[in-house]
């Protein structure tokens, strides 16, 4: 019975990890940082004489320690999984593994468990320091447990995210870049806003971020149940997506990947809506909602835009053919996005009236995604390497937003902020009319880039033909 539960991949990758010298170096560095942080803050607090009692000091030191631990776990965990599968591809061990009767999910699961085991080791290694603080007295046991639960939750989420990236990417470098890229930009935190909120609360949070303010109707355990549930579900979905990418040709499973992505999208919607619970149905609500929905779309649909293969035919009807969804072609993305939007609009109808987003918000989302897709379409034809296209796309989106946002700050002029809206849904819209303006703008921009892509492509083909006849 036990043997059935045994996961060879878990055993194998843990064995490899625990044998490598790097792992111990990493653990020691981690402990050193923790120790240093505690010692330095102790010194500071004592010399500043802020705390007359040791109990108050212990609590503050404990907070510092756990926050550092959380930070380090968040930095290290994705590194554990981001190369898990790309390394196998690069070392050419992957084919042999795929040919075993292990299911693709079992492979992903084994890698995931092995990373989580290391996260647990990291947390446990910190306990002597924590024990020392407990001995000073004055630390709430429940609060402490809560924080460790959060560290583990973040670990679970980040490990599965790294694993998904390593399943999608072809090389380790790329996978690490994408993992930390998504991680550094706050996208990923927003992506699972529910969890982010729980985290925010546990760490005191900003005033605006406090869950208790946002969710008066939810008791603590409900918030927790939601946070844990959302995390586990998101993790499971991500692992499924990763497993699906292990097919010899990822395009084989395009429809399933998209189905799972759709589910992840719904989850994000739910998280976003829960986030807004209790807040007044003002524009602030819609704004937050929009940012999260769009972020969600960007993070998960953009990679798909770029991993698809351009169809040869350029007739619109071919783009909208459901079969194109199955093979994951670039052109099938508008169809897929339309389906997602539809799902969102349907889900919207189940919400209480004050929480329902306006049709304008959905029109805005649709127009924005159309434009992002069209830009991706442009790049996927111009840059014939799919990852190059992906980077160009994300780069453009960020670059414009950054430049214009900075200009707006520098010159204190709203108009610059508006221009930033070309590539990013900025949080500056006070009036619904602000959304309305952008709908036609995005539509036109999208049309322009599709049109120019096709024009350039036709010209290129003509040049190639002339070259071959000569």
């Amino acid at each position: 019975m036990l043997e059935r539960l045994e996961n060879p991949v878990f055993r194998q990758s843990s064995r490899q990890r625990m044998r490598g010298g790097k792992t111990y170096g990493c653990l020691i560095a981690y402990l050193l940082v923790l120790g240093l942080v505690v010692v330095i803050s102790y010194e500071q607090f004592v010399s500043a004489r802020v705390f007359p009692t040791t109990t108050g000091l212990a609590q503050v030191l404990f907070d510092t320690l756990v926050t550092t631990q959380w930070f380090l776990v968040a930095i290290i965990t994705p590194a554990l999984t981001a190369t898990a599968i790309t390394m196998e591809r690069e070392q050419r061990t992957f084919d042999l593994l795929l040919l075993t009767p292990l299911s693709r999910f079992a492979i992903v699961w084994g890698k995931f468990l092995s990373a989580m085991a290391f996260v647990v080791v990291m947390v446990v290694c910190g306990t002597p320091l924590v024990a020392l603080l407990f001995w000073m007295g004055g630390i709430d046991l429940w609060a402490a447990l809560e924080r460790y639960a959060l560290i583990l939750l973040s670990g679970v989420l980040l490990a599965s995210f790294g694993l998904t990236m390593s399943a999608i990417c072809s090389t380790s470098t790329l996978s690490i870049l994408l993992t930390y890229g998504a991680f550094v930009s706050n996208y990923f935190v927003i992506l699972l806003a529910g969890v982010a909120m729980v985290v925010a609360r546990a760490f005191g949070g900003g005033a605006g971020l406090s869950l208790t303010a946002l969710l008066p109707s939810w008791s603590a355990w409900q918030v927790w149940a939601f946070g844990i549930g959302a995390t586990l579900l998101a993790t499971w979905l991500q692992l499924q997506i990763a497993a699906n990418y292990l097919l010899p040709d990822p395009r084989q499973g395009a429809w399933k990947t998209r189905l799972l992505t759709g589910a992840l999208f719904l989850l994000a919607l739910t998280a976003a809506v829960s986030l807004g619970r209790g807040a007044a149905a003002s524009t602030a609500n819609i704004r937050q909602y929009m940012v999260i929905v769009c972020t969600m779309f960007l993070v998960w649909t953009v990679p798909m835009l770029a991993t698809g293969v351009p169809l040869q035919g350029r007739r619109w009807i071919e783009w909208l053919h459901p079969r194109s969804l199955q093979v994951g072609s670039v052109q099938s993305v508008p169809l897929f996005v339309a389906l997602l939007l539809l799902m969102g609009i349907v889900a919207d109808q189940f919400l209480p009236a004050p929480l329902r987003s306006s049709p304008l918000a959905w029109a805005y989302a649709a127009a924005y995604l159309w434009w992002v897709w069209a830009l991706g379409y442009f790049y996927s034809f111009r840059i014939r390497n799919r990852w190059g296209a992906l980077f160009a796309l994300i780069g453009t989106l960020y670059f414009f937003a950054q430049v214009f946002a900075n200009l707006a700050n520098a010159f204190d002029r709203r108009v610059w902020f508006y221009l930033a809206g070309v590539t990013a849904p900025v949080e500056l819209f006070d009036q619904p009319s602000d959304f309305a303006v952008w709908v036609p703008v995005y539509l036109i921009l999208g049309l322009l880039s599709v049109w120019s892509t096709n024009l350039l492509e036709r010209r290129r083909e003509r040049r190639l033909q002339q070259g071959s006849t000569r």
Partner: protein, 311 residues
């Protein structure tokens, strides 16, 4: 029924047709030598059979299971050894095998014995506790073969198992293959080192540019092709006259070459009648010193068949 069968198997990479309309049959117990020059499409074919690559069109079945529709069933039957493969760092030889044994769901109680067995078979027992990455290339190759045998597969797909080995290691691999043949396994083995396959294969298939040029029993192919023998003729004086005579007999003789004063000519006339060539030479009073028919070997077949495709 053939244990491995392909029907119009085709793989395209963009414009490039790597494997074109391949129809291959391997009967149970066959050792098929799959031969072709670099880039012929051997690896592509084998990877399609191993369920690692999806065919563009056509079908392939192994023991009646379709490689696209029932990959799990196929994977249980086959043992695949890739042309290039890596090994895990920081893992010992027995641990490496133990990992794959458990992945193939070999019960824990049987694993130990199984690992000893395959190590003995591949002559690696003394390396049991060495680290895998520290093994030499030949030993890694043998280890990979040992791994391939763990789940006792019925069909072995070996992609150039002898590539990069020294002559001694090659002979050892060959011995190993003979042993496997005696165990009743069906083996598909690809190579461009032809003479090596001659004494272990009973069938060969030659592929070039994705096209199957010829396939069947070695003997039959030899006979089919030995409609042309190579004649080796030595003459006393300059070979020019002799060459002219031979070339005038173009009906029976093709390709006359002179190497180091020895004339080599392909005889394609009726079998058993090459005495006519001697007559023709005698008629012109060519001073023939020796006249011999060379035995055809696999290399010859290969060169002749693939050359035909180039022309």
């Amino acid at each position: 029924m053939a244990i491995v069968e392909t029907h119009h198997l085709t793989k395209q990479y963009g414009q490039l047709v790597a494997v074109n309309n391949l129809n291959l049959r391997i009967e149970e117990g066959d050792i098929l030598g799959f031969i072709g020059p670099n880039g012929a499409g051997k690896t592509t074919t084998i990877r399609m059979l191993a369920t690692l690559l999806e065919p563009t069109s056509g079908t392939a079945t192994i023991a009646g299971h379709d490689v696209v529709k029932e990959p799990e069933a196929v994977r249980r039957i086959i043992g695949y050894m890739p042309d290039f493969f890596g090994v895990y760092d920081d893992v010992k030889v027995w641990e490496y095998l133990d990992f794959f044994a458990s992945a193939y769901r070999v019960p824990r109680s049987e694993r130990q014995q199984l690992i000893e067995d395959v190590l003995a078979l591949t002559d690696l027992s003394h390396k049991r506790d060495d680290y895998v990455e520290a093994l030499s290339r030949g030993m890694k190759q043998r280890l990979c073969l040992a791994k391939t045998l763990l789940h006792n597969p019925q069909v072995l797909l070996l992609d150039e198992p002898a590539a990069g080995l020294d002559p001694r290691a090659r002979i050892e691999i060959k011995e190993l293959l003979k042993e496997l043949r005696n165990m009743g396994k069906t083996i598909l083995i690809s190579s461009h080192i032809l003479p090596e396959l001659a004494d272990i294969c009973n069938k060969i298939a030659i592929i070039e540019r994705g096209e199957l040029l010829i396939s069947g029993e070695i003997g039959a192919i030899m006979r089919q092709l030995t409609g042309s023998h190579v004649l080796e003729i030595r003459v006393a004086d300059e070979p020019d006259t002799a060459v002219q005579v031979l070339q005038s007999q173009l009906g029976d003789i093709r390709e006359v070459r002179v190497e180091d004063g020895v004339i080599r000519a392909h005889y394609v006339g009726p079998p058993g009648e090459h005495y006519r060539v001697v007559w023709a030479l005698a008629e012109k009073r060519v001073k023939v010193l020796s006249f011999a028919e060379q035995p055809t070997n696999l290399e010859d077949i290969f060169m002749r068949v693939t050359q035909g495709a180039v022309q």
